[in-house]
């Protein structure tokens, strides 16, 4: 169970062009992408870059969060700030990218929360401590949870390779 304050609220169909504009795509390394998170939302981007947004802070999104491009920078730039995304729905590639990189995402189809509200993430539900209301969470598919538990897809795949070698050795 973790708590986090909503630092940014966005609507439906927030695209990867909003999360990480295409013009910064030549920057690829997860260590360098966080500076361009929400680059066209100058005020929020400035706060992020100034380190004024604590780890565990929450972005609340509508349906189809992360739609559009497959660019992984859209997930790595949020992960770099250790932001949590609570959204009514996620676009497929963004969801998988986020899981692969260990981005904390919560699928909460009815979430209602505004900037400044404190949320408690309870696993099966999200409680908005500001309004006293709770909203059910849709669990991630098991196979995806296994990647999160492994710490992301890089260590997960490494484990598969080593396990494969061990099997061959036997």
């Amino acid at each position: 169970m973790t708590r986090g304050r909503v630092v940014f609220q966005v609507g439906d169909d927030v695209s990867t062009d909003i999360l990480y504009p295409g013009r910064y795509m030549a920057t690829v390394l997860p260590s360098e992408t966080p500076q361009y998170a929400f680059a066209d939302h100058a005020e929020f981007n400035a706060k992020l870059r100034a380190g004024e947004v604590p780890a565990g802070s929450v972005i609340v999104g509508g349906a189809n969060f992360g739609c559009g491009s497959s660019r992984e920078q859209a997930a790595s730039c949020l992960k770099g700030h250790e932001l949590v995304v609570v959204a009514r729905g996620f676009a497929r590639i963004f969801l998988q990218n986020g899981i692969n990189l260990g981005l904390h995402m919560v699928h909460c189809p009815t979430i209602e929360a505004g900037e400044g509200d404190e949320l408690e993430l309870r696993g099966s539900e999200v409680a908005n401590l500001a309004t006293g209301r709770s909203f059910p969470v849709v669990a991630l598919p098991k196979a995806r949870q296994a990647i999160i538990d492994a710490g992301g897809l890089v260590p997960y795949t490494r484990r598969l390779i080593l396990a494969g070698e061990a099997a061959t050795a036997r």
């Binding site: 795509m25 030549a26 676009a91 497929r92």
Partner: protein, 437 residues
């Protein structure tokens, strides 16, 4: 209940009799495609092998394709450095299907792959690009993945966590009228389904208008499937697929084509009548804000872009050239043309299409993705309006969040270039006839 096309494809790929929707599979990959973002893939790939005591080796260098298209030629030293890293990796790993910045075999990945016969019916294709859905036009199950997922594919040769998707059957009946193009079908469909209407699902295309549509048009429909959120778009292969593979891709192998079962279990069926469809436009800033072009006709346009993985093929350029031939792009409007590949460019050169476009005032640029995602040429000023045959019009998509982007077919783009305002190509043609009569 019978199975959909993709269910049957995945069952074959995984050596199973049948697979159920929602089941999680790890299908072997026939082709793994990347572009400049291979620079990130190889970084993650090295990470996978870190500490294992093993040299990083890709599972099969013959099944990996890398095509530079997003920023060609490199617009910055940063891109040049990324491209150099990828080039070195390609050489070290012996990756054969590499398309560098070259006028004889370069272009946009989603045109280079089909025209080189890299994608075949029944295959599983993944690409680090959301428009990888394009290749469903040849009967492949093709979908976009992220760079880390691709690194895992390079290591394992299979893609993890593929949930067998449900399928929406799209029946396109009738016949497209003169001046109406596959892009209009795609836009109308995305408008109907909405930008998330097909999330996590496959769009399977059927009907007389699909059967009579050349592969170049089917590529447009499958390309835009992702704009409705679809995992993939697919056209079950037929004689036209075979013709394209023979004549364009020079593939002569015999295939065991299959289709969905007649009683396949679809989550939804959508019917679209091509005969009654007119030209469509997607309005700013959402790909599903689709209207008949007549509703926005007269809107002043500063820049028009014809090109991209959606509509930069020879047919598209030819449609535009026919409208523009012997006429002039309106003063105050810029027309940029980006052919989808150098092969397309060469054909357009040979047939005089490029000459007609240039004479009309178009700026013909080198093949690439550039302006579609605002990374290379064709930037917009604050408050400017663009009309493009590309695939997305999210705020900021073409590089400036203070500009507006409308999406349309090559015919609408060309007719609008002449007028300087958004124009119905049918109305424009009628007016010309009146003038000459």
């Amino acid at each position: 209940m019978g199975r959909t096309y993709v269910q049957k494809l995945l069952a074959r790929a995984c050596g199973r009799d049948a697979v159920e929707v929602g089941e999680v599979l790890e299908p072997p990959v026939n082709l793994a495609m990347s572009h400049e973002n291979a620079a990130l893939v190889l970084n993650q790939f090295a990470g996978i092998f870190a500490g294992t005591g093993r040299e990083p080796r890709v599972w099969d260098p013959g099944r990996i394709a890398i095509v530079f298209d997003h920023r060609v030629p490199a617009e910055s030293s940063k891109t040049a450095t990324n491209q150099k890293k990828v080039r070195d990796f390609v050489r070290a790993q012996g990756i054969g299907r590499f398309h560098d910045v070259r006028g004889d075999r370069g272009g946009i990945c989603h045109q280079v792959l089909p025209e080189n016969g890299y994608v075949l019916p029944g295959e599983v294709v993944v690409g680090t690009d959301s428009h990888t859905t394009t290749h469903g036009a040849l009967g492949a199950f093709a979908f976009g993945i992220g760079a880390t997922e691709m690194a895992s594919v390079w290591a394992l040769g299979r893609v993890l966590n593929v949930e067998v998707p449900g399928t929406i059957r799209v029946n396109v009946t009738g016949r497209l009228r003169e001046g109406v193009h596959p892009k209009d079908v795609a836009l109308a469909l995305v408008g109907r389904l909405t930008a998330e209407g097909a999330n996590y699902k496959v769009l399977e295309f059927h009907g007389p208008a699909i059967r009579t549509m050349p592969t170049s048009g089917r590529l447009v429909l499958c390309n835009m499937a992702v704009e409705a959120g679809a995992t993939a778009g697919v056209v079950p292969p037929d004689d036209e697929t075979r013709r394209y593979l023979n004549e364009t891709a020079n593939v002569w192998k015999t295939f065991d084509f299959f289709g969905p079962d007649p009683d396949a279990d679809y989550e939804l069926e959508v019917d679209l009548d091509a005969s009654s469809l007119g030209p469509q436009v997607a309005c700013p800033h959402a790909v599903d804000r689709v209207k008949p072009v007549v509703e926005v006709a007269g809107t002043k346009v500063d820049q028009i872009v014809i090109g991209s993985c959606t509509n930069g093929r020879f047919d598209d350029l030819q449609v535009a050239a026919r409208i523009l031939k012997g006429r002039r792009v309106a003063e105050g409007t810029r027309l940029l043309v980006f052919p989808a590949s150098w092969r397309v460019y060469s054909e357009a050169l040979r047939t005089g299409v490029i000459q007609d476009l240039v004479d009309a005032g178009a700026v013909v640029c080198n093949p690439g993705c550039g302006p579609c995602l605002g990374v290379h040429q064709g930037a917009l000023a604050d408050g400017e309006v663009a009309l493009a045959t590309t695939n997305r019009n999210f705020r900021g998509r073409m590089g400036n969040p203070k500009a507006e982007v409308y999406l349309c077919s090559p015919a609408v783009a060309a007719a609008s270039a002449l007028a300087g305002t958004i124009t119905d190509p049918g109305v424009a043609a009628e007016q010309r006839e009146e003038v000459t009569a």
